[in-house]
């Protein structure tokens, strides 16, 4: 695509190479580039743009358009510069009379089969074909009209070559009339995204781009709508519908996606304050120019009519909402909270910070509770996702975060994916992983469900261990057992880097035959031979990297599994260099950041316990208030205390605990028992049905700040438009704090970051100036590592010696029995995100408009369930109903669903069992029964009625 804003964002034609420097001469200029670089890229790096159509630097050179031909001294003919690698001393001429004539001829042929409607074309001003016609000086097309692909009607009737536009994808259109068959889209789909949904159908003049098979359109094909083809298209053939509607954007701002924990960098492209499109930013270090359907296209929620833009208050949750001014809302909220503290005590109120808001906003919310409320009642949604990661990795390695950057996967030889579904949950990382797998790396998948990675185009797992939900610890321990008993561990690494005494104790424990794959096979359902083979592959296959997700953490033994994973990495010496490591795939855009910022009740920013007086002193001096040395309440404790009548008020920023937290009935009861629930969000979410104050939130497009992604990368979020609700979220928190007498006066989030840097050692050198200069930086970033830390534990573990911890498998108390014979596990889908508050309000619903229950054909047949039938899903905690989807992706005895839709409320089913160390709920294992039903359950109907009732709004008097 044309680069109309950022000079450093030019398309260099072919991908970068690494290698020894080679010097050549192009048009009389000496250029030095790495060996293997194309002549085209070398020229571009010297500032000389060789005309091109089929080349772009996101995909390998193809050499089909013949526009980039050059002359090279001593070589015959006119080689294509994109496919010709540089050689020392090469003398290249890019503008000889001969090549100029060839280029003109090539362009003339291209244009002879292209409509000349440039002025009304959606790509006008952003079209490489147009640019190249200009560059080669095309002034005339000598070919007379004949067969073509672009005229709807030929002289003798309908033009058989004309194919109408395919508008089936909600976000972009495919107009074959404009296609020059350069194959950039096909190659982007293959090389960048790894989906292989596109092909060139036919040959010669009949060649056409085709999505899927002969009868498919873009929507019915395998296309995942990542937008890589649209970005690669040099013409208007694949074009964002938003550009067709709104016109070519004139300015762009680099910012960070607000969906998953990959943290992709994007260019927000705008006209004035109207967002025209989001395109992935090539220099973004997490995504390297790639995107998924959510970040690329699903931003429409920001301007959705459901967004609440004025503050709302009400006396009781049965009342309708009253629109009020910000002042009145703040006064109301502050008075209520202070009133509750006066009546029920200082500790009767608390906050929940958001993993979707910025670091600065999260920091302020925890500061609000610690400094203004005077207690430590702060928690965050990481409680319900990756808190075991923090605990487990903290105990074993000494830091609560992943060890690698995403680039690391390019150096992995064996990748172990446990309890994660990257192609749906972390799609951009999945594309990078698949690229490495296509290059020959081996894959081991540990998951109860046959996720796409197990087998999809050009990717097949060497081993898939389909374990029974809840037996992670047994499987991970059995792998360790094989490695230890077969002597496959890296003893040198263990002796040097880990505590040897602890290792010998661990080795004795894990060598016990009761941990052997044979002994645990009945329990886990994983055939012993498969498990042994997988363990051997991981231990001996070269650089071994572990990536895991919520399928590891959201269990009663989540923390134990995390420790088991850390043990595996230490046993095999896979820590501290590229291509290895332990990598939690974090769920939300800033869940890493919200943990870093002291959102947990026992930890001040930087994971330092509140009981430590020296740490408290740092903040007490700066804030001028005293900090309670006692840890506060976790989310489940807050809800328990609310039901018990001792916890009365909650400020909940950007999280929908009613839908996302387990055991909905219990959450409902807890919220209903509170006297002041303040919800700060974009929409009247499910939690807001129980709120007394609603403070409108701002989107990531409307504020400055930073997000920290799963690789500890601190990325800038930049304001591209004014907040539609009037205030950025950090300003709203500040208003509330000041209404309660805090006297804060931040005028820009940069000042908040300065405060974080001043108080938190791992952020010591972070500042907006540094981020402006570097683009992004990975913490720890301080005097010891001023450039940040892409790889952790390189020369030694943060805690000193790596610590092996004994991982005893203890079965969860949640068990199947005659009444609830099946195990439910939950997950998510590519097009929807978390509770769906954002993605349900975009065209992404065309891919997933309801949650469905995946059930194995055997289990379905036993119950007389047909595909698409309404079924009732019941557990000890509650019941709901949804449609069934019969599939052998799940094993017999296991059912699976997503939790994106509040009409289903999958979490009414999940129980209040949780991780022993961190209270992370056991979402992934619930004993259930499934039976036919005729539609929504009584509970679903009541819930829907209550939600409608609760969302009534009385507008403010004019």
């Amino acid at each position: 695509m044309k680069d109309f804003i950022l000079p450093n964002d030019r398309d260099l034609g072919t991908p970068a190479r690494e290698g020894a420097p080679v010097t050549l001469t192009i048009d009389g200029f000496d250029v030095t580039v790495p060996e293997g670089t194309s002549v085209m890229r070398a020229a571009a790096e010297a500032g000389l743009q060789i005309p091109k159509l089929c080349a772009t630097d996101s995909v390998e050179a193809f050499g089909s358009c013949r526009l980039c031909v050059v002359e090279i001294e001593g070589r015959r003919g006119t080689p294509a510069s994109c496919t010709t690698p540089v050689a020392p001393g090469m003398i290249v001429r890019t503008q000889s009379a001969k090549v100029k004539k060839i280029r003109k001829g090539v362009m003339e042929l291209y244009i002879s089969d292209h409509p000349l409607d440039c002025l009304t074309c959606a790509a006008n001003g952003d079209c490489e074909l147009q640019d190249m016609a200009g560059v080669v000086g095309l002034r005339d097309v000598r070919y007379t009209p004949g067969q073509n692909h672009f005229e709807q009607r030929a002289a003798t009737g309908a033009n058989p070559q004309y194919i109408p536009k395919d508008d089936s994808n909600p976000y972009f259109s495919y107009d074959p009339a404009k296609c020059i068959v350069c194959s950039r889209c096909v190659r982007a789909c293959e090389e960048v995204q790894g989906t292989f949904a596109l092909t060139i159908e036919g040959r010669g003049f009949d060649s056409r781009v085709s999505a899927g098979g002969p009868k498919d359109d873009f929507l019915t094909s395998d296309c995942v709508s990542c937008g890589a083809c649209v970005a690669a298209c040099p013409t208007a053939t694949l074009q964002e519908k938003s550009v067709i509607e709104l016109g070519t954007p004139e300015r762009s701002v680099i910012t960070t996606c607000a969906y998953c924990g990959v943290g992709c960098s994007f260019k927000a492209e705008l006209n004035g304050d109207e967002l025209v499109r989001m395109t992935p930013y090539k220099h973004g270090k997490a995504n390297r120019g790639h995107s998924c359907v959510k970040g690329r296209f699903a931003y429409g929620y920001a301007s959705h009519s459901d967004r609440i833009l004025n503050p709302l208050i009400r006396d009781k949750i049965t009342d309708p909402w009253q629109e009020v001014s910000w002042e009145e809302a703040m006064r109301f909220a502050a008075d209520r909270l202070r009133g509750l503290q006066d009546t029920y005590g200082k500790k009767s109120i608390g906050v929940i910070t958001s993993s979707r808001c910025t670091n600065e906003e999260t920091y302020l919310v925890q500061k609000l509770t610690r400094s203004v409320f005077g207690n430590n009642n702060t928690d965050t949604c990481a409680r319900v996702c990756h808190s075991p990661t923090g605990y487990g990795l903290g105990q074993t390695f000494g830091t609560s975060a992943g060890t690698q950057d995403f680039d690391s996967v390019e150096h992995s030889d064996v990748v172990l994916v446990i309890g994660a579904n990257p192609t749906d949950g972390h799609p951009v990382f999945a594309s990078r992983l698949k690229k490495r797998l296509r290059a020959g790396a081996k894959l081991i998948v540990v998951d109860p469900r046959r996720i796409d990675l197990v087998k999809s185009a050009h990717v097949a797992a060497a081993h898939h261990l389909p374990l029974r939900p809840g037996t992670n610890v047994a499987v991970v321990s059995a792998m360790a057992h094989v490695i230890v008993t077969e002597g496959l561990m890296d003893e040198a690494f263990i002796r040097e880097r880990c505590d040897w005494d602890e290792f010998t104790e661990y080795a004795a424990f894990i060598s016990d035959p009761r941990h052997s794959p044979e002994a645990t096979a009945l329990l886990t359902g994983v055939p012993a031979e498969d498990l042994r083979a997988a363990a051997r592959l991981f231990a001996t296959g070269g650089n071994g990297a572990i990536y895991y997700g919520l399928g590891v953490t959201e269990h009663s033994q989540g923390s134990t599994t995390v420790m088991g994973i850390a043990n595996l990495a230490m046993l095999t010496g896979n820590i501290g260099r590229k291509g290895v490591g332990v990598n939690p795939l974090r769920g939300q855009n800033n869940v890493q950041g919200s943990c870093d910022m002291g959102s947990f009740p026992h930890e001040l920013p930087g994971y330092r316990h509140v009981k430590n007086a020296d740490v408290r002193a740092i903040f007490e001096t700066l804030w001028g208030t005293e900090i309670d040395p006692e840890p506060g309440l976790r989310i489940p404790n807050m809800l328990d205390a609310a039901v018990a009548g001792t916890f009365k008020g909650l400020y909940c920023q950007g999280e929908d605990i009613l839908q996302s937290d387990p055991d909905t009935h219990h959450v409902q009861a807890g919220l209903a028992a509170m006297e002041c629930v303040i919800v700060h969000d974009l929409f009247l979410n499910e939690t807001a049905n129980y709120a007394h104050v609603f403070l409108p939130g701002s989107t990531f497009l409307e504020k400055d700040g930073t997000f920290t992604n799963a690789e500890r990368r601190i990325n800038r979020v930049r304001k591209v438009m004014a907040p539609r609700n009037g205030y950025a979220d950090w300003e709203v928190t500040q208003l509330l704090a000041n209404a309660m007498g805090a006297g804060w006066h931040y005028t820009h989030p940069a000042q908040i970051m300065d405060e974080i840097a001043a108080t938190t050692p791992s952020f010591a050198n972070v500042s907006y100036d540094l981020l402006e200069e570097r683009g992004s930086v990975q913490w720890p970033c301080n005097d010891a590592s001023p450039d940040g830390t892409p790889l952790m534990h390189v020369d030694g573990f943060v805690r000193g010696k790596g610590r092996f911890i004994v991982t005893e498998y203890i079965a969860t108390d949640e068990r199947t029995g005659p009444r609830f014979p099946l195990l439910l596990t939950t997950g998510r889908i590519l097009s929807q995100y978390n509770v769906g508050a954002q993605t349900r309000r975009t065209a992404n619903v065309v891919w997933h408009d309801e949650d469905v229950l995946e059930i194995h054909p055997n289990d379905a047949e036993l119950r007389g369930i047909e595909d698409g039938a309404w079924v009732k899903l019941a557990s000890r905690a509650g019941d709901t109903s949804l449609r069934a989807k019969i599939t052998d992706r799940v094993s017999p005895g296991v059912v699976y669903t997503t939790f994106h839709h509040p009409d289903t409320q999958a979490n009414v089913i999940t129980t209040d069992f949780s991780d022993w160390a961190t209270n992370c709920p056991e979402y992934k294992v619930t004993a259930v029964q499934v039976g036919l039903s005729n539609g929504p359950t009584a509970w679903q109907r009541e819930y829907a009625a209550q939600a409608t009732q609760s969302r009534r709004i009385v507008p403010a008097a004019e």
């Binding site: 292989f196 596109l198 092909t199 159908e201 899927g212 098979g213 002969p214 498919d216 999809s456």
Partner: protein, 154 residues
């Protein structure tokens, strides 16, 4: 010579699986399917994709590149007439016009009784004996319309 029936999934899969051990098995699989059914059934594309760990798009791309792979059943006899330069110089155009007229069909067409399908081909490597044609896989040199019609029994 071919069975133009509705192919069963299991049967197609069996044909596909017979070629699994080969290097580069996709084209042989297409040939085998076409040999069995006279065309490559659309329902075979997902089977091929799944077996070879490709996508339907890729399989479709390969199949559509080769004009020889049909997507619908052909007649009992397949007559391919060369339309390349050498045969045109020897009167192939007139000859094929007469054949098509007698059969009452156009290029790629099949007679209503399902007897004959006529397809163009661009060079059979038999330029010395033009005009050339191919009847059910057997090349015919120095062809004329009567002979070709007789060959296909029309």
């Amino acid at each position: 010579m071919t069975r133009a029936t509705h192919p069963e999934t299991a049967e197609m899969q069996a044909i596909i699986d017979r070629h699994l051990g080969m290097e580069g098995p996709l084209l042989p699989m297409f040939h085998a399917l076409q040999a069995e059914y006279g065309y490559v059934p659309a329902a075979a594309l997902p089977l091929l994709a799944d077996t070879l760990n490709l996508t339907v798009a890729e399989v479709h791309g390969v199949k559509s590149f080769y004009h020889d792979f049909r997507d619908h059943p052909a007649g009992r006899h397949i007559l391919k007439i060369c339309r390349a330069e050498a045969c045109q110089a020897m009167g192939a155009n007139d000859m094929s016009a007469r054949v098509l007229e007698r059969l009452g069909i156009d290029w790629h067409g099949t007679t209503p009784d399902g007897d004959v399908t006529v397809e163009p081909v661009y060079c059979l490597g038999l330029c010395a004996c033009g005009p050339a044609a191919m009847v059910d896989g057997r090349v015919v040199g120095r062809a004329n319309s009567d002979r070709l019609l007789a060959e296909v029994g029309a």
